[in-house]
């Protein structure tokens, strides 16, 4: 009972880890909840390699090649380091119930991003009415664009809802999207205050169409967070990639 577990342990851990990586990168797009899109090929390669390694290791153990595991340190069993069992925790989590993308909880904990720093000119906005923008681009242009390219344009953005209860009767709500430069551990939010529409429930994904509501001087504290006068708020499904990339 125990001996086979010990003997096949390394192979099992390798297979589990490989399967978990492949499940989120090759067989679905769940990896986008955790890391940035550019990592996908490396994840797939790692998953394949881990599965191969596990299969070879298991095959050798089955053939009775018991002593091929290296035994370098005191705290290791002869069948691989014991600490390796910890790898099964994230592997099983990814296989059985992949953790959700970060939402309003994390957005409230981190300071919002200013995106571009410093007033300057921006490239011309793409054509289109409404024009689709990322929250990062809207924030940068709203606060730092000296040519005020957002003026008079109808924009459309997708994000989730965070709310802020105020002293008075009116609570403000924000269109929010987390910015991830490497993995979910470094997530930081963009927030845009939405006016002229009732607040959807917290964490709901919405697409908001509206116009920029200028406030405060360029680059000033009052200009932040940027404000959007909403024309329409539509509930949507969580996008493929829940984060914005830097």
């Amino acid at each position: 009972m125990v001996a086979p577990v010990r003997r096949y342990g390394p192979a099992a851990v390798l297979l589990l880890s490989g399967a978990a990586i492949l499940r989120i990168s090759l067989f679905s797009e769940l990896y986008l909840r955790y890391v940035q899109p550019g990592l996908r090929p490396y994840l797939i390669a790692s998953g394949v390699l881990l599965v191969l390694l596990g299969a070879v290791s298991g095959g050798r153990t089955a053939r009775g090649d018991a002593h091929d595991a290296t035994d370098t340190h005191d705290h290791h069993t002869s069948h691989g380091p014991r600490v390796a069992w910890l790898l099964t925790v994230p592997a099983l989590a990814l296989l059985l119930f992949p953790p959700p993308a970060l939402g309003s909880y994390s957005a409230d904990r981190e300071a919002a991003q200013y995106a571009a720093q410093g007033v300057g000119t921006f490239p011309e906005l793409p054509a289109g009415d409404p024009v689709d923008l990322t929250l990062g681009e809207f924030t940068s242009r709203a606060i730092y664009d000296s040519e005020r390219s957002l003026k008079g344009r109808t924009v459309r953005m997708t994000g989730f809802v965070t709310r802020e209860e105020n002293e008075g009767e009116d609570s403000t709500w924000y269109l929010t999207r987390l910015l991830v430069s490497c993995c979910a551990a470094d997530a930081a939010p963009y927030k845009i205050e939405v006016r002229g529409a009732d607040a959807p429930p917290e964490d709901a994904w919405v697409t908001v169409t509206g116009t920029w509501h200028p406030e405060g001087g360029l680059g000033s504290e009052e200009a932040w967070p940027p404000v959007l006068d909403a024309a329409s708020v539509k509930r949507v499904a969580e996008p493929r990639n829940p984060y914005e990339k830097r």
Binding site: L49, A69, G80, P81, P90, S181
Partner: protein
């Protein structure tokens, strides 16, 4: 006579096997029963906990750090296993100058082109010493190899996009810390602190000429061992990092982040406790937003050189009296060096 004895032995073996089987079945059954009971009681409670936003965020950050770290970990262990299996250690001892004081910077710089995770570098350093490399030089290599190899530097540049100065600062601060610690050993080190490893470790980069097949076996075994070992510690680090991010309120962090000195020391201690593998630590450092760049640099310079798992590995390989002195000295040198590099470059 001979036959009888063999027969008796095989009967005894059979009985022993049967007893062992029964014991396994009983122990395993009890364990399963216990697990089932605990799970059925705790399950609903755990599910509730999982449903809270904080726990969900913990799991997401935890798996994210692991998922992000695995490809880099694998790349690093691939290269280090290849070197352990295919490059003879005597190549290094031929390349090094005879004088220890000169060999230290050469060995330290050699760490730049010899990728390896810190878990792999300990046995390599032991085998270098056995091959007659001056201990100081081997130790400089031990410190620099996991800290400043290309894999780690590439990982750092990905974790800190648009901040090449962070990569440069990490390279210089780590190299300086490794060389200075090596020189300290030349000047103050005593051989009796060092319990030189006697037996040859199979994955220790001994790299003897062997049949191609046995070399491939060594490569595969080294890869498997290094990945499993470092992967386990990556999970520990990810859990600690996620916990740190969720449990510690922002206001407490602000106390530290407001004071540049405290924040450097805090992250230098955190690097020791978290034990994040050097191939993944840049991502953890990047996630510690709110700390000064110098403090994050200290995290990345100290981490590959001094941490709990390294102290354990060094105790196993070189003895406790060595590990304690060496780690303490290295920690001080690494913090000083990263403060200087941060002040200069960041």
């Amino acid at each position: 006579m001979e036959n009888q004895r063999t027969e008796a032995r095989s009967v005894a073996d059979g009985v022993r096997l049967a007893v062992r089987g029964v014991v396994y079945a009983v122990v395993g059954g009890l364990a399963l029963l216990a697990i089932a009971t605990v799970a059925s009681v705790l399950g609903p409670m755990l599910a509730l906990d999982l449903a809270t936003p904080a726990m969900a965020a913990w799991w997401t950050v935890f798996t994210a750090v692991v998922v992000q770290g695995v490809p880099f970990l694998l790349l690093g262990t691939l290269v280090s296993a290849a070197i352990g299996a295919f490059v003879p250690a005597r190549v290094f001892s031929r390349l090094l100058p005879r004088s220890p004081a000169l060999a230290v910077p050469v060995a330290g710089a050699a760490g730049v082109v010899l990728p390896g995770c810190e878990c792999a570098s300990v046995p390599v350093a032991g085998s270098l010493m056995r091959r007659g490399v001056a201990p100081a030089a081997a130790l400089a290599f031990l410190l620099s190899a996991p800290a400043i190899n290309p894999v780690v530097l590439v990982a750092t540049s990905i974790a800190f996009p648009g901040q090449p100065s962070m990569v440069l600062a990490r390279l210089l601060a780590s190299l300086a810390a490794a060389v200075v610690t090596g020189w300290l050993w030349v000047r103050f080190g005593k051989d009796e602190w060092l319990r030189l490893p006697k037996t040859r470790t199979p994955s220790g980069g001994s790299g003897d000429a062997g049949t191609p097949r046995s070399r491939w076996d060594g490569f595969r075994a080294g890869l498997q061992h290094d990945f499993l070992h470092a992967g386990g510690f990556l999970v520990v680090g990810a859990a600690a990092a996620a916990t740190f991010g969720i449990v510690v309120p922002r206001s407490v962090l602000d106390v530290f982040t407001d004071s540049p000195w405290l924040s450097v020391l805090l992250l230098a201690v955190l690097a020791v406790v978290l034990c994040v593998c050097s191939e993944a630590d840049a991502f953890v450092a990047a996630s510690l937003t709110g700390f000064s760049p110098t403090a994050r640099l200290a995290f990345m310079v100290v981490g590959p050189m001094v941490d709990l798992k390294l102290i354990a590995l060094q105790t196993g390989t070189f003895g406790r009296s060595f590990a304690v002195r060496f780690s303490a000295a290295t920690w001080v040198v690494a913090v000083t060096s990263s403060v200087l590099a941060g002040w200069w470059l960041l």
